[in-house]
């Protein structure tokens, strides 16, 4: 097997219209400034695609970037990033997936893949070090993701596959790779609009070797040590998966209940990770490679199935008031098959349930009842009947039928399963996140509620904290490494680990810009540096993360985003909840003001010229 | 929604402004009575009015008020602020305490106030016009020129009211108004 030292610095561009391909080199400068993964993907998109294009047209490009870590053996580095223009939001859509396609593409000798144009008829692509083969996908068109994946196993070691939802351009259709997904932003619809049913990468042609193996190995071992020491990564998530969050969120008032009208529920334990681990006799089923092992499968209803992740449990479970994990697992399986984002699907169905209750529409959906939910998911995937409207997401639904006050989305992307009224930092994060109501933009709820490191209901320091977390998360997603390693890498170093919470909390709350300077996140840039052979200090790495975030924001402002869009659904601004005796709502204006100040944006949320200049972002 | 967060709000009273207006109404009432004896023009205006003429000037909805009328023997008398079963022939209703304050701090004259719908007049139009003329004369007597110019529509010229008449009349009206 051949070796690639560091990175191959080449991306394969596939033109579906002309059925051709070519090699695009990545400059060293871009790699250093944008790190790889999501960052490099955004930079490529920015350089190649003008603003104002239709996401479902030929002009849109779908970019997959593997990142520097993939294939090197770095812990929890089995992930890859994707960038495109989202048909759901009309803004930059980015995704992260732990499926096998990334490894297959990287070990085929490519750091990334660009798909442009549109095929005349359904095709699937097979990528190897030699290039790409265009194959007729008519026999797969109309088939579900799992069937097609199985059929394509002999073609390569990893695939990206869309289901019927992607074929029918459901605006929140996803892309499947193994048992993981490029879930959000409707990337499946983009591939569907290009008539691409699947992309297979042969893989196993190259071995990836770091340029400075000693430096890399030292950082890698330390990271592993931290992962195995940290209680969240080594115990909670390892034993119970992401559903360990259910009980935590229920106690902290973050669990979405009944379309986000409530923050906790007496029956939440039925869908908790602890209960499901026992009930379904779960075993590991994870991304490869992974040291945390959060993914699980179990014996559910007589079948061995992937245990639904927390987001699915939260949005299809408590948010619809369905506390039966077997029912939620059925919905999860349907979404897997059809290639639908579970968060957007479930939150859209929750909207439909509430709109039915209020008399705005007529459906057979009802809170607390799993009846008709499965049929609705199928109707959405095939855009049948009312499913055709539901397939466009809550924003379009509320524009047509009303109910905008309980359409739980930001910028068109449905909200994940953390109620922002339980943690104001998370509320701010949702409001300003680049791709919409994304919980992974910062996962601030963990800092505020799980770890008690920042007062969830204080206005102090929120702007700078969210800005810092966004920078770090962007950098993580450009490595590309699993965000859960943040629990280990950020919390295990000496200062954070051994400073008592009663000191740490006020420091992080009231002296946030100073406190973040003491946070040691150097393991990530050290591994990156060990792989590429380039110097990358911690502060340079965080600055790169900031550059990536601000570039994405700038690209969104070219699509019309400004302060008017950095908001939350009315429910969170005006309605209190029973679980909170103080009936708190989110004081968003002050939070957004402090964020813009921390970010160097003007009062309209547009990055100032000097901010762009400082980050070396060229205005287009 | 917690309805207890939005309680009923009963209207408070603006005591200081009400006291000020009450005092001003008393002064104006007494001054009209005095002017009716002292000034020739005022005497003539009142003579043209009917014998049962009774003015009620009040602040809606709960006062204070001023009653001025002609007695059986034709004299003009300030009848006080209480309603003792009077039947006013001319009612000037000032719609609010704030409107009265504008009037009695001379930021607006009577004519302007009426034009701006702060004052509602009930009764005969000729009587109302006569009363406005009377009030203008009284204000010229009571107030220094710099303030009276704001209150009245047209400050009288030298030929209409010479300084001797004005100052002498002013002294007499003040003495009569504040003594007997």
């Amino acid at each position: 097997m051949q070796e690639i030292t560091g990175t191959s610095n080449k991306v394969i561009e596939v033109d579906l219209t002309t059925q051709s391909h070519r090699e695009i080199p990545i400059s060293e400068k871009d790699l250093e400034l944008y790190l790889g993964g999501k960052g490099l993907g955004l930079k490529l998109f920015y350089d190649r695609v003008p603003a104002g294009i239709d996401p479902l047209s030929e002009e849109n490009e779908f970019i997959v970037m593997t990142g520097v870590y993939l294939g090197t053996g770095a812990p929890c580095a089995g992930r890859f990033a994707a960038v495109t223009k989202s048909p759901l939001t009309g803004l930059m859509g980015t995704g992260s997936c732990g499926g096998p396609f990334g490894m297959a593409l990287k070990t085929s000798g490519w750091d990334g893949l660009i798909i442009k144009g549109k095929a005349k008829s359904p095709v699937y692509l097979v990528i190897s070090s030699k290039g790409v083969e265009f194959k007729d996908a008519k026999k797969f068109w109309g088939k579900d993701t799992q069937t097609v994946q199985k059929a394509l196993e002999k073609e390569g070691s990893g695939a990206l596959v869309i289901g019927q939802a992607g074929e029918n351009k459901v605006l929140y259709a996803n892309i499947c790779s193994g048992h993981r997904f490029l879930g959000r932003c409707g990337m499946g619809a983009v591939l569907g609009s290009k008539n691409v049913k699947a992309i297979v990468a042969k893989g196993n042609e190259f071995k990836i070797v770091p340029k400075n193996p000693r430096k890399f190995d030292k950082a890698r071992k330390k990271t592993l040590k931290f992962i195995n020491r940290n209680p969240i990564t080594s115990v909670s998530y390892r034993q119970f998966g992401t559903n360990a969050n259910v009980n935590l969120n229920n106690a902290g008032g973050l669990l979405p209940v009944r379309n986000f009208t409530g923050g906790s529920h007496g029956e939440a334990h039925k869908i908790s990770g602890e209960e499901m681990a026992e009930r379904f006799d779960t075993k590991f089923s994870t991304c490869k490679p992974c040291a945390i092992l959060c993914g699980h499968k179990g014996n559910i209803n007589g079948e061995i199935r992937q245990v639904p992740e927390y987001e699915t449990i939260g949005t299809f479970g408590s948010n619809l008031e369905i506390f039966d994990p077997v029912a939620v697992s059925e919905f999860n399986e349907l979404c897997t098959k059809y290639g639908l984002d579970t968060i957007s699907t479930a939150v859209t169905i929750a909207w439909a349930m509430e709109a039915t209750e209020k008399g705005l529409i007529k459906t057979d959906l009802k809170f607390g009842s799993p009846d008709n939910v499965a049929k609705t998911i199928t109707d959405i995937a095939y855009r049948r009947g009312f499913g055709n409207d539901l397939a466009n997401g809550t924003r379009k639904l509320s524009q047509k039928y009303g109910g905008a006050d309980f359409a739980i989305h930001v910028k068109g992307l449905e909200m994940a399963a953390y109620d922002p009224r339980g943690a104001w930092g998370q509320a701010l994060s949702y409001a300003v996140a680049n791709r919409g109501a994304c919980h992974l933009s910062t996962a601030s709820f963990a800092v505020e509620v799980y770890l008690n490191m920042h007062d969830p209901f204080s206005l102090k320091g929120k702007g700078s904290m969210i800005a810092f977390l966004e920078d770090v998360t962007c950098a993580i997603n450009s490595m590309h490494v699993c965000q859960f390693t943040a629990f280990a890498v950020e919390l295990e170093p000496f200062v954070v680990k051994y400073t008592p919470t009663f000191l740490l909390n006020p420091m992080v709350t009231y002296l946030n810009p100073i406190a973040t300077k003491f946070m040691d996140v150097s393991l990530w840039p050290e591994m990156w540096s060990g792989i590429t052979g380039k110097r990358m200090g911690m502060f340079k790495w965080i600055k790169a993360g900031r550059r990536i975030h601000v570039l994405e924001r700038y690209m969104n402002t070219r699509e019309g985003i400004s302060r008017k869009d950095d908001t939350l659904p009315q429910r969170f601004l005006t309605e209190g909840r029973h679980c909170d005796p103080q009936q708190r709502t989110v004081p968003l204006e002050e939070l957004v003001d402090s964020y813009y100040k921390a970010r160097g944006f003007d009062e309209n949320g547009i990055p100032k010229d000097r901010t762009l200049k400082r980050l070396k972002i060229e205005k287009k | 929604m917690n309805a207890l967060q939005y309680p009923e709000i009963k209207p408070k009273k603006k005591f200081i402004k009400r006291i000020y207006i009450a005092v001003m109404l008393w002064v104006v009432g007494r001054a009209i009575q005095a002017a009716a004896k002292v000034d020739r023009e005022v005497k003539e205006e009142f003579a043209k009015l009917k014998d049962n003429f009774l003015l009620k000037m009040w602040i809606w909805p709960n006062g204070p008020a001023m009653y001025v009328g002609k007695t059986k023997d034709g004299k003009v008398k300030y009848l006080g602020w209480k309603d003792k079963g009077y039947k006013p022939t001319l009612t000037m209703t000032i719609k609010s305490v704030e409107a009265a304050m504008l009037l009695f701090t001379f930021q607006e004259g009577t004519a302007i106030s009426t034009a701006r719908n702060r004052l509602v007049v009930d009764g005969d139009l000729p009587d109302a016009c006569a009363l406005v003329r009377i009030l203008n004369i009284v204000e010229v007597y009571l107030l220094p020129k710099i303030i009276a110019k704001l209150a009245v529509k047209r400050y009288p010229k030298w030929s209409q009211m010479n300084p001797l008449r004005k100052h002498f009349g002013r002294i007499l009206i003040y003495v009569r108004a504040f003594t007997f």
């Binding site: 294009i53 006050d405 | 009400r18 609010s96 409107a99």
Partner: protein, 380 residues
């Protein structure tokens, strides 16, 4: 010349100027009401406007049944039902809307529910055949159009009825001077568009023209100064007066192409409709200038006054009116770009907006809407 046939209705009494709020108790009493439900938003309550209104009702027989200070900007079924219940529980007999935009429409929707004694969604199909409960509108300067008109917007419904006019509109500088420049621009441009479209209809009438012309002359005189200094008392009062007059003109004329398109774009993009109207209006007028019939020369009279109108030769009046109007719109250059592209509206969405507008207002065809959108996109 008296037009062959027209109908016109303007119901509201307008109290405008110094201490106008203090008229409210008397006006309520004359409408046989003594216990209003006051609806306003947290923003205005924080600025002290609710306190100002409460003080204006001192020394009267008016008891505020409830002062609701959390009205959102979106008139949802939930808030309408909650406020209707509050109204009934407190035994209120009238409503005061303190604020513009969603607050006014929530107040109108609540008024329908409590007067017609039915669910808000059923009100959409009902014909209102008798006066509703007394409604007083105290607008702030962030009007979005329709607050003082015979129309109510709630959820995605639009209800038109002569009985939806407020009974009294109170315009006081203590209330109007708190808007931002952006909001003043939005208000003025909405009023401009409504006034121009109202007097540009096929069969204009002199009464409607009078309201439209008053709106235009207020905007032309006060807008350039007020947009630089939004707290300018006279200016903000003038702009809101212009909005009131424009709303009346709007209620007595069919909805125009600019209004319909702006609503469709604003719904999708969260932009303020007035900002979009300001862009579309420029190109709509430019197109009309060269079309058969052109722009009415009387607009010049409204904008520039009798002297300029008389001095301008008859053949040049249309062009002069267009120039004055664009000069007025240009005063917003810091807040409103001159093309839709400047607002970052993507070209591919124009077709959808034209389709939605044509579905809502069938007086114009989809290709007419599309033509205006194309012209406004890059300004060519």
């Amino acid at each position: 010349m008296i037009p062959y046939n027209f109908t016109f209705l303007s119901h509201p009494k307008i109290c405008s100027g110094l201490k106008a709020l203090e008229h409210i108790p008397f006006e309520l009493e004359s409408l046989n009401a003594r216990k209003p439900l006051v609806i306003t938003s947290a923003r205005w309550a924080k600025k002290g406007l609710a306190k100002t209104l409460t003080k204006a009702l001192y020394d009267s027989n008016i008891t505020i049944g409830a002062l609701f200070t959390n009205a959102p900007n979106y008139p949802s079924v939930t808030i309408i039902n909650e406020l209707s219940k509050l109204y009934r529980d407190r035994g209120c007999d009238s409503i005061i809307a303190l604020g513009s935009g969603g607050i006014a429409h929530i107040a109108k929707a609540v008024n329908m529910v409590v007067s017609l004694k039915t669910d808000i969604l059923q009100c959409t199909d009902l014909t209102i055949s008798s006066p509703l409960k007394p409604l007083i509108c105290v607008p702030t300067a962030d009007c979005e159009g329709g607050e003082m008109a015979a129309v109510a917007y709630y959820e995605r419904f639009e209800k038109q009825s002569d009985f939806l006019y407020p009974d009294v509109i109170v315009i006081d500088s203590r209330i109007t001077r708190h808007a931002t420049s952006q909001e003043i621009a939005n208000c003025a441009l909405t009023s401009l568009a409504h006034a121009i479209e109202a007097c540009g209809i096929v069969a204009p009438n002199p009464i409607n023209d009078a309201y439209a012309h008053t709106a235009l002359s207020f905007i032309y005189q006060y807008f350039p100064k007020t947009i630089k200094k939004p707290c300018y008392k006279d200016g903000s009062v003038a702009i809101v007066n212009a909005a009131a007059c424009a709303d009346t003109a709007f209620s007595n004329a069919p909805q125009g192409i600019v209004h319909t398109l702006a609503q469709a774009i604003a719904l999708d993009t969260n932009l303020q409709p007035g900002i979009v109207m300001g862009i579309l209006l420029r190109y709509s007028l430019a197109a009309k200038l060269h079309a058969k019939g052109g722009i009415r020369p009387e607009l010049l009279l409204a904008l520039a006054g009798i002297d300029t109108y008389a001095k301008t030769p008859e053949k040049d009046r249309q062009k002069a009116a267009y120039d004055y109007l664009t000069k007025c719109i240009d005063a917003t250059c810091n807040y409103v770009p001159s093309t839709l592209k400047g607002l970052h509206i993507p070209h591919y969405k124009l077709k959808e907006y034209a389709r939605l507008a044509a579905a809502k207002n069938k007086q114009h065809k989809e290709n007419e809407y599309m033509a205006l959108l194309e012209k406004s996109f890059e300004g060519k």
